[in-house]
């Protein structure tokens, strides 16, 4: 019997990531992980790239994971879970196992967009029955907020600090969701913990589809974003409402925007509460703010066009 995606029904399910992990107060990642695990109707095995989530959830001799879990290294969560999934197929074929099990890999943006891109691309191309979930907080938060290719334009990080000459990250962020879609895999989606029902529906849909799936989920980090500890959900909501982080899915090549804000809010609403963008609000950086807004507009319009909405 499928559990309904209602708070009442979900509240009866067991939390598969326990309390007592060492993630920072107000971190978006454990919220994202709990939602993903809670959405599943299948028994799960997870692989985890080195990063905040990994170092904070399994410090010997404690583990916060109630499901089988493996951490190998930073760049290879996808290759590692592909090994687990292949052994599962081998043993199933041999009649040594009969249970239906689903496989998930979790990685941050560093482990996904950058160092783990090759391993992820390979696993997607090989067609393993797995879901890769990137919790994207937009920098190497675990090593102390260094820029990654997911870091937004203009953001101040410890390796592209806003200074007298350089005003934060000069480059546009990589569009990882579209890169994954370009692999021609059956399901790719972008989600946000602020829209939990949308997120969990996507996880459910992904797990029901056979083959490789990818989900990119925004995950606010109050240390790196320099925001209030209780603002994670508010900020992820603003990311969606400003169309900085549109909610959409691409199923078998068909793009669908799953949430269209009634009124698209200005990007400023999302970045103003974050200290990492503070310098963009000084008068001499007005041009950068404009450039940033134009980037978001362009991407949003392209998405609407791809979805046939415009």
């Amino acid at each position: 019997m499928a559990t309904g995606l209602t708070l009442k029904e979900l509240s009866k399910k067991e939390m598969l990531l326990t309390a007592g992990h060492r993630m920072c107060a107000g971190c978006g990642a454990p919220i994202v992980v709990k939602m993903v695990l809670l959405a599943s109707e299948y028994p799960l095995i997870a692989a985890n790239a080195t990063g905040c989530l990994e170092v904070s959830t399994c410090i010997s001799e404690y583990t916060a994971w109630k499901i089988p879990w493996i951490h190998n290294a930073f760049e290879n969560a996808a290759a590692t879970i592909s090994g687990v999934e292949t052994m599962y197929r081998s043993l199933k074929k041999q009649g040594k196992i009969d249970k239906e099990i689903k496989f998930i890999a979790f990685g941050g943006d560093g482990g996904t967009y950058d160092i783990g891109l090759q391993s992820l691309s390979g696993a997607m191309e090989r067609g393993h029955d797995m879901l890769y979930v990137c919790y994207d907080n937009g920098a190497y938060m675990n090593t102390g907020i260094q820029r990654s290719s997911a870091t937004p334009f203009g953001a101040d990080t410890t390796t592209c600090p806003a200074g007298d000459v350089i005003q934060g990250k000069p480059q546009q962020r990589k569009d990882m969701t579209r890169i994954m879609a370009a692999h021609g895999i059956p399901y790719v989606a972008q989600a946000s913990p602020s829209h939990w029902m949308d997120l969990m529906k996507k996880v459910r849909k992904a797990l029901d589809i056979k083959g490789p799936k990818f989900m990119n989920i925004i995950s606010p980090c109050n240390r790196g974003w320099r925001s209030r500890t209780d603002d994670a959900i508010m900020l992820s909501k603003l990311a969606v409402e400003t169309c900085y982080w549109p909610l959409y899915e691409i199923e078998n090549g068909v793009t669908k925007v799953t949430f269209k804000p009634k009124e698209k809010k200005p990007l400023k609403d999302f970045i103003k509460p974050q200290g990492r963008f503070k310098h963009l609000f000084s008068p001499e950086n007005e041009g950068m703010l404009k450039t940033f807004q134009e980037m978001i507009d362009r991407e949003w319009e392209a998405l609407l066009k791809a979805s046939g909405a415009e």
């Binding site: 095995i45 010997s60 190998n72 052994m87 043993l91 196992i97 090759q118 391993s119 090989r126």
Partner: protein
């Protein structure tokens, strides 16, 4: 019944892997190891094995996939060479630290730069301290036999460590020799069923693999790993005894050739040992008491046994097919010197570096070295402790 075939070293290793019939293999092509996986995947395509392949996009992912598959709960193998092993580096330590009994054929090849695809031991020697068991093989027969034994050693309940089987690139991997194969059933029976401890796929007993261990326990963990290594030689000997029963072929921690009453000796690995044995015979015919020691189990290195075998000699030359830059001597020289250090009376040692990047090792090289050892034994003095041989000046 066992059968005699004419096969290359790679072919023999591929056939051994077919007979072992692992559950999963994750591999990436690299010269000269490619041939092993090409042959093996044809077994997969033709239903000769139950193995599921993961044809990855790099050697890093090859070993990552092996680690995931092994932890999931089954028998896993792969093969590589040179740059491939170098790219796996990080994962080699994770495989051994996680105590996963993965078996890997390492077809020894030189390391870049400059690029060279031919046989030397730089790759395997560089990986000697990564926590893997290393078995080295003189010829195709030994590569075949070591591959089969490697599974039993790696998977032994006292051990549970990954193992690599080393054979010389091209010289052995691509040369056809007379090789005796065991029956498929005999190999199956010998390697037995494998059961992983704490498999990830046991959903009723969820486990976490790959924790963070801080200074409070990291050192105890490492010491436990070191202690497991000390149990390997006994297991290697026990497995060799069982293997002798089905094959008639005898294996030890190392091979000694005419060493018992020898006064001078060569210590040399893999294919060059064969060439050296012929030269030793000709020196014996001249009445010179020459012998040879060829390590087989290189990691863990059997220091005590090797020291005991060499301590009564007058002069010994360690021939290294790899150099350890800035370490003064070749890697094997350092191990042999360490094994002789505890003895007050011990032979004079010299070190020669030979055969890098596939440079031929000729009988004349062995003769030159043995003549030098005879001179050292006579005078009690070594002129040069380390030098390259077979090289342009």
């Amino acid at each position: 019944m066992a059968k005699v075939v004419a096969a290359t070293g790679n072919e023999a290793v591929a056939d051994a892997l077919r007979q072992v019939n692992p559950d999963v293999s994750s591999a990436y092509p690299i010269t000269p190891a490619t041939d092993i996986m090409q042959r093996f995947t044809s077994f997969v395509s033709n239903g000769k094995v139950k193995t599921e392949m993961i044809l990855v996009e790099s050697e890093h992912s090859a070993m990552s996939g092996c680690i995931g598959a092994s932890a999931a709960g089954g028998r896993v193998m792969t093969a590589t060479s040179s740059q491939g092993l170098a790219l796996m580096w990080e994962e080699l330590f994770i495989a051994s630290g996680t105590r996963l009994p993965i078996v890997m054929a390492l077809v020894n090849r030189a390391l870049s730069a400059p690029l060279n695809i031919h046989g030397d031991h730089s790759d395997g020697m560089g990986a000697r301290d990564c926590g893997w068991i290393q078995l080295w093989s003189e010829n195709g027969q030994e590569a075949y036999d070591n591959t089969i034994q490697a599974f039993r050693i790696a998977e032994h309940m006292d051990i549970r460590l990954p193992a690599m089987v080393c054979l010389d690139g091209f010289i052995i991997s691509h040369s056809i020799e007379r090789i005796e194969y065991l029956d498929d059933a005999a190999v199956k029976n010998f390697v037995r069923e494998f059961r992983q401890l704490y498999p990830l796929l046991d959903m009723e007993h969820p486990v976490s693999y790959g924790p963070l261990i801080l200074p409070d326990y990291y050192m105890e963990f490492r010491r436990a790993q070191a202690e497991v290594m000390t149990k390997v030689p006994k297991v290697v000997l026990d497995v060799a005894k069982d293997f002798e029963k089905i094959s008639g072929r005898k294996y030890g921690l190392f091979e000694t050739y005419r060493l018992d009453d020898a006064e001078v000796a060569l210590v040399i690995l893999n294919s060059a040992a064969g060439t050296s044995k012929d030269v030793i015979d000709s020196f014996r015919e001249k009445g010179i008491k020459a012998g040879l020691l060829k390590p087989r189990l290189y990691r863990p290195f059997p220091y005590e046994e090797v020291g005991n075998a060499l301590k009564n000699l007058k002069a010994v030359c360690v021939l290294d097919r790899a150099d350890a830059f800035g370490g003064s001597y070749g890697p094997m020289f350092a191990d042999i010197a360490a094994s002789l250090y505890p003895y007050r009376e011990r032979p004079l040692l010299i070190n020669k570096i030979y055969g890098l990047g596939g440079r031929d090792y000729m009988p004349s090289h062995a003769e030159l070295v043995l003549n030098e050892l005879v001179e050292i034994a006579k005078t009690g003095k070594a002129k040069t402790l380390k030098e390259y041989i077979g090289v342009r000046e």
